[in-house]
């Protein structure tokens, strides 16, 4: 691959991301919603816990999860969940979005490889979700009464950033499923809650039965969530040390995008040969 070819592909990625970001700025309410949703979602169990456990909430929570900082615990869960959820929505829903905006046919007629357009969408999604997730975590901590800057912040950020690659690889797998089954919204809505359940949105996955726990451990967002919680709150890494957990995430980062790319391409080619990608 020549340098010129790399520059061309990069320009496609950046143009695609820029288009989506400009589109987002036309709807400031959506950006506000991105900030509010993780805070509101996290506040539900926090308020429930305060009401039911009272002054002993921290102590009881520490006995069950390894940390007394239930505000930080829930906010980390909801912020990581929002990052993962947006990844699935933006990528798995990508073709449907192109169809709704009337650009799907042009996309398939252009000589540009659609992969780079999707990569631009992924870049936009990463920027949007990580920035809003971070702001929501910091803002939510102040609103709900926790220090957002305790613990090892850079290490937590490392877990999030390394975890993004396998997450986006998974979204390609899921996108293939959406292409095949067509009912995008229904599947993504189900996926959102399935993802939040498996990654331990508000609870440690150690309470799962063995089979379910094994499935959760094979799921990259679980490692992202636990890694961020361990770095910031000290709940404990799965393999005792942070570099082992980062190593597992790195393995996922190498495997998942490749697998997702191969599967998505195969399914898309199959769908194009038969029913076409324009039908939903």
């Amino acid at each position: 691959m020549t340098i010129h070819a790399i520059q061309v592909r990069l320009s496609v990625v950046l143009a695609s991301a820029r288009m989506r970001i400009i589109n987002l700025t036309r709807y400031p309410g959506q950006m506000l919603s991105d900030l509010i949703v993780p805070i509101v979602v996290a506040s539900l169990p926090i308020l429930l816990g305060r009401a039911t456990a009272g002054e002993n909430a921290s102590a009881i929570f520490a006995a069950n999860t390894g940390t007394g900082n239930y505000v930080g615990y829930m906010l980390i869960g909801s912020s990581v969940y929002s990052i993962v959820s947006y990844a699935f929505w933006h990528i798995a829903y990508w073709l449907r979005w192109e169809m709704e905006t009337g650009t799907l046919e042009a996309l398939y007629l252009t000589p540009t490889n659609r992969f780079w357009v999707a990569a631009g969408t992924a870049l936009y999604s990463m920027i949007r979700s990580v920035v809003t997730g971070l702001i929501a975590y910091i803002l939510g901590s102040y609103i709900l009464g926790s220090n957002p800057f305790q613990g090892e912040l850079l290490l937590a950020l490392l877990f999030i950033l390394v975890g993004l690659l396998p997450v986006y690889g998974l979204t390609l797998l899921f996108g293939a499923l959406v292409l095949k089954l067509k009912e995008a919204s229904a599947l993504i809505n189900l996926m959102q809650w399935g993802v939040s359940f498996l990654m331990g949105l508000f609870f440690p996955i150690t309470v799962f039965p063995p089979l379910l726990k094994a499935i959760a451990m094979a799921f990259p967002p679980t490692w992202m969530t636990n890694g961020a919680r361990s770095a910031l709150l000290g709940v404990g890494y799965f393999f005792q040390e942070w570099y082992f957990d980062v190593g597992v995430l790195t393995f996922f980062a190498l495997l998942a995008p490749l697998l997702g790319y191969v599967v998505f391409n195969r399914v898309e080619s199959n769908v194009r040969r038969h029913e076409g990608v324009g039908q939903f």
Partner: protein
């Protein structure tokens, strides 16, 4: 002498539709259309039950993190409080989206203008969605209670008839809220999507669906007392939990019952008039088909 054959008075389509039998027939056809659309998306139908399972499991486990007996023991009263609040939230959410925002879907699909060109009663189109909500969301609610029972053991059920009355009368009020949001959707178009999202989340906190009202700070509690749906949530779960000490939290049960009843009678009327006003405004401006 031949008698003139009786000639039926000329009935225009508009006049035909104006009589009650015609309107009822239109309503039945619209309900049938909604159910037909629903059955064309079997994945969505099955996925909705899967969602309910995950939501119930997540909030049950979240509640158990504050259980002094540990996470593997049952979470009786907390789970019961959560599931009954969740039932009200399900209906409210479905009302906001399936009544409030469906007008927008009709605009995007391009069928709203055709609907307004037809002699059928336009309000019946919105009303027909009430039927699907009643049936589908009721099924989801029952499923949610079943899942919660499976996870934490028995969910307490006291005063079922009183609970059903509170739910039904509150539903009427929520349908009125849905009609009002349909009016908002006609005016704001795509922005209504974000607005309904934000309001849904605001209601989640202010109407305390998933936690007791005692958890709210005083300023938020003040706002909660201004929202009739808060009294519906409080009365519904208090009645079904058998009025444990401290419940209902916002006001005496008799007072809450009066508030909810007035809400259930007045809000549909307000919602209807708001929708009509927005509809007439859109028709005068010619913006019905704009999106």
């Amino acid at each position: 002498m031949t008698s003139k054959p009786a000639v039926a008075p000329l009935l225009t389509p508009a006049r035909q539709q104006s009589d009650l039998a015609g309107q009822f027939s239109s309503f039945i056809m619209m309900v049938r259309k909604e159910f037909t659309v629903m059955t064309r998306y079997p994945v969505e139908f099955v996925a909705s039950f899967g969602q309910i399972f995950f939501i119930v499991a997540i909030f049950t486990l979240a509640g158990l993190t504050f259980n002094p007996a540990g996470m593997t023991s049952g979470g009786g009263s907390t789970g019961t409080l959560t599931i009954y609040g969740f039932v009200i939230f399900l209906f409210l959410s479905d009302t906001l989206w399936n009544i409030g925002f469906r007008v927008r879907q009709e605009q995007v699909q391009g069928t709203l203008e055709q609907l307004y060109l037809s002699p059928a009663n336009k309000f019946l189109s919105i009303l027909s969605r009430v039927t699907t909500i009643l049936i589908w969301t009721s099924l989801l609610s029952v499923t949610g209670v079943f899942f919660m029972t499976t996870l934490i053991g028995q969910v307490t059920v006291h005063n079922p008839l009183l609970g059903i009355y509170v739910l039904l009368i509150a539903l009427l009020g929520m349908f009125g809220v849905g009609f009002a949001f349909a009016a908002v959707t006609l005016r704001l178009k795509e922005t209504a999507n974000t607005l309904i999202n934000l309001i849904q989340f605001a209601f989640m906190i202010l109407t305390a669906n998933f936690f007791p009202f005692s958890a709210l700070p005083e300023p938020a509690l003040f706002v909660s007392r201004l929202i009739p749906i808060s009294y519906a949530v409080d009365a519904f779960r208090s009645a079904l939990m058998g009025f444990p000490p401290g419940y209902p939290e916002l006001a005496p049960f008799e007072v809450e019952l009066v508030i909810i009843t007035i809400f259930g009678i007045v809000m549909p009327v307000i919602g209807f008039y708001l929708y009509r006003a927005a509809e007439n405004y859109a028709r005068r401006r010619g913006s019905l088909s704009e999106y």
